[in-house]
Amino acid sequence: MTETQLLRWIVLLPLLAAVYHGVAIGVARRASDRRLVVAISCGAVIGTFVLACVALGKLVQIPRGPTRVLVDDVYTWIGAGVSSTRFSAELGFQVDPLSMTMLLIVSFVGSLIHVYSVGYMDDDHREDKGFQRFFCYMNLFMFSMLVLILADNVVLMFLGWEGVGLCSYLLIGFWYADRHNAYCGAKAFIVNRVGDFAFLIGIFLLFATLARAGTPVTAFRDIQAAFEGIRAATVAVPAWLPWGPAWPVVEVVALCFFIGACGKSAQLPLYVWLPDAMAGPTPVSALIHAATMVTAGVYMVCRLSFLFAAAPAASAVVAWTGGLTAVFAATIAIAQTDIKKVLAYSTVSQLGLMFLAAGCGGYGAAIFHLGTHAFFKALLFLAAGAVILAMHHEQDVRRMGGLRRRIKSTHLVFLIGVLAIIGAPGLSGFFSKDEILVWATRAPGGPWLYWIAVGTAGLTAFYMVRLYCLTFLGECRAPASVKEQIHEVGPWMLVPLFALAFFAVFSGYAGLPAVWGEELFGMDDSDSLGRFLAPVLAKVQGPQLEHSDEMRMAGTAVLVAGAGTLLAWLCYVRRPELPGRIAAAFAGAHRALLNKYWIDELYDALLVRPLVAFSDRVLFRLVDAGLVDGVLVNGTARSVRALASHGLKYAQSGLAQSYVFFMIAGAAALVGWLLR
């Protein structure tokens, strides 16, 4: 462990920028010059990336092993109690290989998206201070995300966890004048709260158990060190529950944490907010709802991998939830017509794959896919943003088409993104998805999850190629007025796109699986990301596969993806009348997909409306208006008034000496009582 004061500055830089913007628009009430806003915001985030690189330089100088950690304890944030009941949470940051990986991804992708946002938000004149407000929220988000990643204890992590949720809410409802956007922001916030509640319970339960075992700690390192002491602990549950009446604490805590992760990372059944989060500006969708915040759940599961590795039942839940979410969201994506919605469901699906890997014990594979996904999904979103700007804020793919010749650079990078996500051999998505498939073979409950993952790969290829064909190939279906004005975006947006495209192609080689390293390049230590991460992740025995088996699995995946690609090409380029015919033949299934299985309607009927009705009738009218306002507030005032105006007021006679008399009488009574 090495002390360094560097880490606090990584976190502080974006916060200082956000505070500057906040003061400018909130206190001074005047938007700063746009160039100054750009310089401060982008400067802060790029500065963060530079500091992250410096931290990487320091980290790799420490020899490999559990002590390869940089720490920065600023001060004790919360401290209460003594000795065995001592609760203390430090404001402390740590960088180990896991948080280093996340830190680099977040600060690098964040920097690129900040630069891109300059171009994207430049022509947005809906509000005077909008430009600065946008960057204020973005920097605040970077701060919260960095706190989440670098926190060395679970309480501080929760602070970052809530912070990113808040910024997500603020940015989804950024154009709040439109009621729908504000609604989507509130939806994201509330659905996340459900998960956060479970996360909190997990924290409480974990701490209570640790304290009972005599080790009241909150820091991740200390929890891991004290973990053996609570492995056998149980919580009492009603006997009629399955496996009752005593559940292992480890399983319950892991489940609670995973429910929290479900909220933040949009897994079944809490995924419903993410597609609606696309109401925000596109750079926000790329940064928060694709590359960074939604991966926080995966990061948290990997950060607590020692906990999940010791909880087989919870891990099985993680794997199955991930797998089912992956295939479920992929099927919905097939029928969506909004370019950003397709990408949103694709994000849900890919996050599901990451959880599938993490649930099977492939924490390294999950982080690897998290990284490559951050690059290619941010690329796809940003390219979609360029398309949307080019089409004058048109998002419906049915009114696009033929953009290949009109916006060539955007077309190129979008194509690279599509190839990366469908796992074209050699690109980043190919290697990371392969890793996940390998881990899926040791999934709990037989080979089902493996085939689900393979099927998801096929569906992914289908809907991504469909999206690409509808947007860029064929004839342009836009109205003539829009068609004439389709234009390529400026360099502020193109440069980040090409940078991301580069990493979408090559980032896979950072974690090149051993089989490819050995077979293709003759290296005997190829999985550099995996070896970098290994000391911090729980060691789970991976599947022992021959190289030929792994090759065959990769071949299967490529074949399935190829079939999906071919089918999409057939449907949307070769025979454009085919999709309509298929939709008509399977009208019921098509309607279900189009309406996203009516999940939103179901939640609305089952949860939202009863809750709103209960709040309105009981909590508002009965409790608030009736009890609190009527009885307590107004009732107190009324009774005091009645008492005073019919008696008490006569004590106020205006004669000073009668007051003196009362005073003396009171003093005498007091003295008498004291001397009794």
Partner: protein, 106 residues
């Protein structure tokens, strides 16, 4: 040496005379004088206790006397304000009788 009980007894007597004056006299100037009497009764008690404790507790030897000086200062200020009120009242009401000022009531 005068025993402490005599000092406190005198102090209590003076205080009760002051209280009686405040409670019964209508003339504002006499009421003010009675208040002075009460304050000085308290001063006397302070001095008496100071003398009693002075030999026992060297650290707090002069505390009682310091309190007395404080009380005298405050009493002087209070008399200045009180007489100011009396003059102002006499100008407005041509009287210093407390019963003539009873407007502030229900």
């Amino acid at each position: 040496m005068v025993p402490i009980s005599h000092v406190i007894g005198l102090s209590a007597l003076l205080f009760m005379i002051g209280v009686a004056g405040v409670a019964t006299r209508r003339n504002l100037i006499v009421v003010l004088m009675s208040i002075e009497l009460m304050l000085n009764a308290v001063n006397l008690a302070f001095l008496g206790f100071n003398r009693m404790w002075a030999d026992v507790d060297a650290v707090h030897r002069y505390d009682g006397q310091v309190f007395v000086l404080m009380v005298i200062t405050v009493a002087a200020a209070e008399v200045a304000v009180g007489l100011g009120i009396v003059i102002s009242m006499f100008r407005n009401r041509d009287s210093v009788n407390l019963e003539d000022v009873s407007l502030l009531k229900w």
